[in-house]
Amino acid sequence: MRTSFTLNGKSVTFDLDPSMRVRDMLYKAGCASVRDSDDAEGFTGSDVIIFNGQVRSSNLMLCFQLEGADVRTAESLRKGKALNDVQEAMIKAGVVQSAYNSPAVALILTHLLEKKPDATRADVRDALSSVFIRDAGYEHFYLAVKLVQEKRRTGRYETPVSPSFCENLDYIGKPMDKVDGYALVSGERVFTEDKAKDGAYTLKVLRSPYAMAYIKSIDTAEAEKIEGVEAVITYRNCPDVYYMQAGQGNPEPSPYDRRLLNQKVRHVGDRVAAIVAKDEETALRAMSLIKVEYEPLEPVFTVEQAMADGAPLVHNGKVSYVAGAPVNLDEYNRTADERDGQVIYQFPLHGDIRHNIAAGAHGGIGDVEKAFRESDAVVEATYQTSQVQCTPLEPHVCYSYMENGRLVLHSSTQVPYHVRRIVAKVCQVPENKVHVIKEKVGGGYGSKQDILVEDLCGYATWLTGKPVYYRNTRQEEFIANSTRHPMRLTVKMSGNKDGKITGIYMDVRANTGPYGNHCLTVPMNASSKTLPLFKVENMYYDLTTYYTNIPPTGAYQGYGAPKGYFAIMSAMDELAHKLGIDSLEMAKKNVVDEGYMLEILKGLGEGREGTVVPVGSCGVKEALEQGARMIDWGVREKSDDPDWEIGKGFAMIQQGSGLPGLDQSNAQCKLLPDGSFVLLSGGADLGTGLDTISAKIVCEIMKVNPSLVSVVSGDTDSCLFDTGAYASSGTYFSGNASLNAVRDLKSKMLAEAALQMEESEDDLELEAPGFVVSKKTGKRLSYEKLSHDALAGDGRGAIIGTGSFATGNSAIPYGAHFAQVAVNKVTGEVKVQKFYALQDAGTPINPELALCQMYGAAQKSIGHTLYEDMVLDKDGRCISADFTDYGVPMVGETPDDFKAVLIDVNDQYGPFGAKSISEIATNGAAPAIANAIYDAVGARVRSWPITPEKILRALGKI
């Protein structure tokens, strides 16, 4: 159908399928800013356009509606190379992070300000009602609009976007445009999906309808006969290679308990067959012709079901150990069923699959039983956390092809080097045959720490030689992806009337679902990131992780810490109430100080003995005190509606900065012939600003402006190894590697300059805007000449700095989150009126980005606490597998008064004193809100999500 309309101000005519969705047409027509995050659910706003002057979801329109229409996409915002003022302000405000829908938001706000230049906060809130922001929260979008209005009025920005840190430095601790902000906000083709070329084959996965079953037979003959079907991969013809999908340091503390496809399916949505075909239609047709006969098995979904005597076994295969096998292994394997495959532990994790136990751990200090016996009060309660989804706006996606006999993968990943290792393992080739290119990541939050699609996509290419494109549907994101492990945590805590906590015991029972990704490490964090916050002499934890048949679990921002904090800070609040003590005073009395020896760490290593270290830089008390002042702690607020009561709560929190003793990062920095710089970082920037950190480090040390620095990261061919962006490692590990590389480069530049200038190295220093200067003689040598002469025919060669970072030292971020809620006693409704997140992130290198990450993470946790829930039916099918049913928080759920505050603390080990920022921000909301609800109406709800119904039950209304 010939269709004429106006696209971004120009008349266009296309031959269009009238039933094609407008989103798909626009993307194919070159408007890459028009993304799809929800498969046409009309929820996330990544697909927003302006249609005849109105904001519309292009996925909810068909091409026949375009005739004569006026359509604008975000491509219209940039004039030539110049961003418009809204796009510029969004970068300034720090909201362009993973940025999958940043262009769409820029379009919406531009449209708003065209119609209403003096738009109020309420107008902005209404405009943002169509977009789901998971990474940066909504607060700084208001700021961006304010900046635009200021600049239009006065010619300059007046409101600071963040505080600045480190007065003596030029770039570190100061707001600066994110190095990839321009590309992201303008909608450049920087995501994996943009790299897939026409003609790429489609990969589709036939998924299990059963929560647990053996595949009795599978007939793919009819599917394979279809023209255009290149391969059908099943458990029968896939590589006989066991591995696991968690992107962790090798050897991993997770069992190898799966192949690409298995004879036993272990959750609804598990892989049954993979079809490689010339296009989606052919793949789906082939999929419909695959005949599968299942032998359904009784599933288990909860920890209680999994631990019951005689429970059905999720894994009943042969167990082996790479190291540390128990002596009775042959006997243990006597009852193994071949159809279950194998479980290979790299080293013992206290697993016992014949009892559905994937891993276990325990440890502690002192004598908790004695403490409980001798204390004035003891509380014991069990807390339950639910299964929640990362919901990145960009789903898991991979594009793979062969080039010069090597397998190339473009991937949206947090762990390019683990992708390389695992894909090489699956394809049974050495790592030099695999090249992984991390593209911009449109949201990760941990789920892209796991290699969930690259294994299959990469193998499909290796098998067929064809370029293959794979992208999860949104439903697949929910049912076949990494989620937070549901946990049952029992905390027993004792204390005395003086407010001193005398003993803490945590019994953590975690549900890892069908496979053991992170089955030790995530649950361990429930204890390992909570107990070291307490100056308590008697502490002990037991951890058991169970296999079940729920959708898969894995890494999620914060790992197990948000769950551990929900339990331990709720329990502390319960103890304080029992003792009649103010819980804030109890916190201050029992929280660690700088220099306190963390004996508890001995038993908290991830599968190994941990190292006892003293508490380093620590701003937790300042966070507690400042937060208390901000929220008027101790003052009872009065509601003007008798049905609503107001309460306050808080949580003190900590996390880590990477995994000392396990992680390693590497970087290189090159001086180019003209005196500019390229830094090659192994680190994987997820949109959080890691590349900007590396660039700032170069600028700071080399004394050059950012236009002379480029950063390339996450490319396994051109960059050096990095364990990846997880466990809050980016700033501390990858940042320190960049710092070491730049320092190394500086040292080499000075050495070369000394020879060229015939000066002593000791007399030389670097000077802006790019000179080596002699303090003794005043001689100056430009970087350009320095490099040129080094690279000349008689030169001494390229000047390259290399840096590595591995450490046993911890840079622990601390903080406190405070909440004020209003609770309706009649309906159980909860409104978060105030939420204050105060964090000691050391010296925040990108302070405006840090603030946005705090908002985003806190909002995410508010979602987990109050709204989000993966609900399974009795057969294990997820019945909340879209955004609307699942219930992510939107702008309507933001607290009325929401503040993020950076506590100024300088760390001795972090680069320029920096610590991590983002994961810790997920730890406070659940306990702070739960405690505030109790404070308001006396309802103690100990399970996520804290719904109005649960509150009504706690109040005895139903």
Binding site: D17, P18, S19, R21, D38, D39, A40, E41, G42, F43, G45, V48, Q54, V55, R56, S57, N59, L60, M61, L62, F64, Q65, D126, A127, S129, S130, R474, V826, T827, E829, G863, L866, Y867, D869, V871, I879, S880, D882, F883, T884, D885, Y886, G887, V888, P889, M890, G892, E893, P945, T947, P948, E949, L952, K957, I958
Partner: protein, 234 residues
């Protein structure tokens, strides 16, 4: 590939509906993933046949079926309760697309508008076999809708309606959407049905679903019915 028909007149639209096509006005439900219409169902575009106008007629307000939620929200003729009901749809982009007629025709048990319009005693002008006719919204709901095409909605200008929506978050499905006027209480209860009176609300067979248990919904519905009746009389 979905078949698309563009209606030249109401009769043609209606005839196509009888042959299995569905009316397409805003399209937000038909095209929505997870919506109630199968992806290959033919559609008949009626957007050109329906009014986008809101006008006063005597003591009544007449709302064209193609009026969008946002238009209803912004129009100065809309009474405050109707503006509030329209704004229950949280997303501005969806409000720009979803039509009043479409929302009624869907008869969703989490409908944004039906409880308030029922409470207000709204009537519908519809087109069917016999041409145009007026039916009460209550009858339309009780019959479970029909193949007819909704042309407009008429509500008394002077009616007072109080309403509340209960959902876990602003953009998730509501467990209960309830409204009351001096005359009646009406509600949409998710997974349970639409009640056009307090009596029906009390007798409704409440069911569990992801928005809450039957017990919770029943408690909330009856509690709120009482509160809204007091509020509307205040």
């Amino acid at each position: 590939m979905r078949e698309i028909f563009k209606a030249e007149n109401l009769r043609q639209a209606y005839d196509l509906r009888l042959k299995g096509a569905v009316y397409f006005a805003g399209g937000s439900e038909i095209l929505r993933n997870g919506g109630s219409v199968a992806a290959d169902t033919p559609v008949v575009d009626v957007s050109g046949q329906l009014s986008h106008e809101i006008r006063k007629e005597g003591n009544s307000l007449v709302i064209g079926a193609a009026v969008t939620f946002q238009e209803l929200y912004e129009n100065p003729l809309s009474p405050s309760w109707l503006r509030k009901a329209a704004h229950l749809m949280a997303s501005r982009a969806l409000r720009n697309q979803a039509t009043v007629g479409g929302n009624i025709a869907l008869l969703r048990d989490d409908s944004y508008l039906i409880p308030s319009l029922l409470a207000a005693g709204a009537t519908l002008t519809v087109f069917s076999d016999g041409g145009q006719k007026n039916v009460s919204l209550e009858d339309y709901v009780k019959k479970g809708g029909c193949s007819c095409l909704i042309l407009s909605i008429t509500v008394p200008s002077d009616v007072k309606v109080c309403l509340r929506r209960f959902a876990r978050s602003s953009s998730s499905h509501s467990a209960l959407n309830i409204a009351a006027s001096q005359e009646r209480v009406c509600a949409c209860v998710r997974a349970s049905g639409i009640a056009t009176s307090l009596d029906e609300l009390e007798r409704l067979e409440y069911k569990d679903d992801i928005t809450g248990s039957a017990e919770y919904k029943r408690y909330l519905a009856l509690e709120e019915a009482g509160r809204l009746m007091k509020e509307v009389k205040a």
